[in-house]
């Protein structure tokens, strides 16, 4: 049976893994490849490398960091997000070592590129990053660059429904770095058929259980909470024994 996933999220700023607090304050954690290697050993179901300064700086994807992380010899699927604006950016990110890509600015700036990306990588490799918050009339889609929030543009909803995007990373941007998740972000999501990956503030097993029990939720992203203890993914999976997850295990290859 297909299990729900726990995705270890590594936030990267300036080439360094950081602990992020509301995408405003950053505490350096070390080299991304070291964190990725830990998540790989601890049995994460996917690893998301989120380079949060690439779009705003206009520097495009951080291929060097992807290559460094991929060269760590991971046997866990690697998802990359940051600076992907054109379809060839996404293709190049995969060539550099990613297995899937997250798009954000592309959705707003050049939505026509999403179809091209899906055709070249397969739509199953494409995830939409949606920083959202709850408003009186429904969910609000936050724009990091303009620093404002507005209802979802119809074009973005059409893209999500078109089949060119497999999953939506629902980013609780207001609670990111904190210890809580606004369930409205799942329950008021404008389309109940789009698989969701909640992220931001999912700091303990109880919170994770609450979101993973939602049918629409395919996976959950965990960031800062993994920085505080060894084998955090394994321990969380053990605590979430009642959820249909891949069993927790230590990922170590031995020839015998």
């Amino acid at each position: 049976m297909l299990g729900k996933r726990l995705i270890g999220v590594i936030t990267v700023h300036g080439g360094w893994a950081v602990q992020s607090f509301g995408y405003g304050r950053y505490l350096p954690l070390g080299r991304p490849e070291v964190l990725a290697r830990n998540l790989d050993r601890w049995g994460a179901d996917e690893i998301l490398l989120s380079c949060i300064d690439r779009t705003s700086s206009g520097n495009g994807p951080d291929y060097r960091t992807i290559e460094r992380v991929a060269a760590a010899g991971l046997t866990t699927p690697l998802v990359y997000g940051g600076g992907i604006v054109r379809s060839q950016d996404g293709v190049a990110a995969v060539s550099a070592g990613a297995d899937r890509v997250v798009v954000d600015a592309m959705l707003r700036d050049v939505p026509a590129e999403v179809d091209g990306l899906a055709e070249r990588l397969g739509a199953q490799a494409v995830i939409a990053a949606l920083p959202v918050s709850s408003g009186p009339q429904g969910l609000l889609h936050y724009d990091y660059r303009a620093r404002n929030a507005a209802p979802f543009a119809p074009l973005i909803l059409d893209l999500l429904r078109s089949g060119a995007i497999a999953e939506a990373l629902v980013i609780n941007w207001r609670g990111e770095g904190g210890t809580g998740f606004d369930l409205d972000l799942i329950e008021r999501f404008p389309d109940p058929k789009i698989p969701l990956i909640p992220f931001g503030g999912l700091s303990n097993a109880d919170l994770l259980r609450t979101v993973l029990m939602r049918e629409q939720v395919a996976a959950a992203g965990i960031g800062n909470a993994l920085s505080y203890r060894e084998h955090a993914i394994r321990l969380l999976k053990r605590e979430l024994g009642d959820i249909a997850l891949r069993p927790h295990s230590f990922n170590r290859w031995t020839a015998n």
Binding site: M1, L2, K4, T75, S95, L121, G122, Q124, A255
Partner: protein
């Protein structure tokens, strides 16, 4: 005995570095190439694949690999298709537009029936007690696809299902020395590496 030499078909599609690194981890030597002479010198050929069927077939044609793979398969060369590489072994696919495949294993590729996507870790159910796959029976492996290969039961050696009420679908095929794996063994942690090792060593000896 020297380590098996594995050729990885380089046709500009996907993340082949992961496959290379996994092979190295398993103690195999590898060559990434679309040069027939280089691939001929390998014990086993891996056909990787990420993306959509039409683009991948187009790339195989462009690199002169279509006829090469068909001829070598006919001659009994061990070939392993991974993910989209497995689907390319079929006769045709309806993904995006009708496209002929390599036609090495009778079958066709269509969208999944019970869901739009099959993304994540799922349990492999091995059929026919195939010795190449048996170490993976009941293990969780990583899948990432939305189309699935339909083939005759004689070629189907592994299935998965989305849940109990749903119909099982083919995720592993075999026709002699041709093997297709819909999951990513190189991205399925220790369980995937065990299967990859078993398949390459099993086929390598058969070849």
């Amino acid at each position: 005995m020297s380590a098996r030499l594995v050729g990885i078909v380089d046709y500009g599609i996907g993340n082949v570095a992961s496959v290379e690194r996994s092979l190295r981890m398993l103690g195999f030597r590898s060559r990434l190439s679309h040069d027939p002479d280089v691939l001929d010198g390998c014990d086993v050929i891996i056909l990787p694949g990420v993306g959509a069927f039409p683009g991948a077939m187009e790339a195989l044609h462009r690199h002169g690999m279509t006829h090469y793979l068909q001829e070598r398969a006919e001659a009994g060369k061990p070939i392993v298709g991974i993910c989209l590489g497995m689907q390319l072994l079929a006769d045709r696919s309806s993904e995006i537009r009708p496209t002929p495949g390599l036609a090495l294993i009778p079958g066709y590729v269509e969208p999944l029936q019970d869901a739009r996507w099959h993304i994540g870790w799922n349990t492999l159910e091995v059929l026919q007690d195939d010795p190449l796959l048996m170490p993976g029976d009941g293990r969780s492996l990583y899948f990432n696809h939305s189309y699935v290969m339909h083939t005759s039961p004689e070629y189907c050696i592994g299935v998965a299902r989305l849940g109990q009420p749903f119909t099982p679908f083919t995720v592993a095929v075999r026709r002699g020395n041709l093997v297709g794996l819909q999951f990513h063994p190189e991205k399925s942690q220790a369980a995937g590496l065990h299967i990859l090792k078993q398949v390459i060593e099993g086929l390598g000896h058969a070849g």
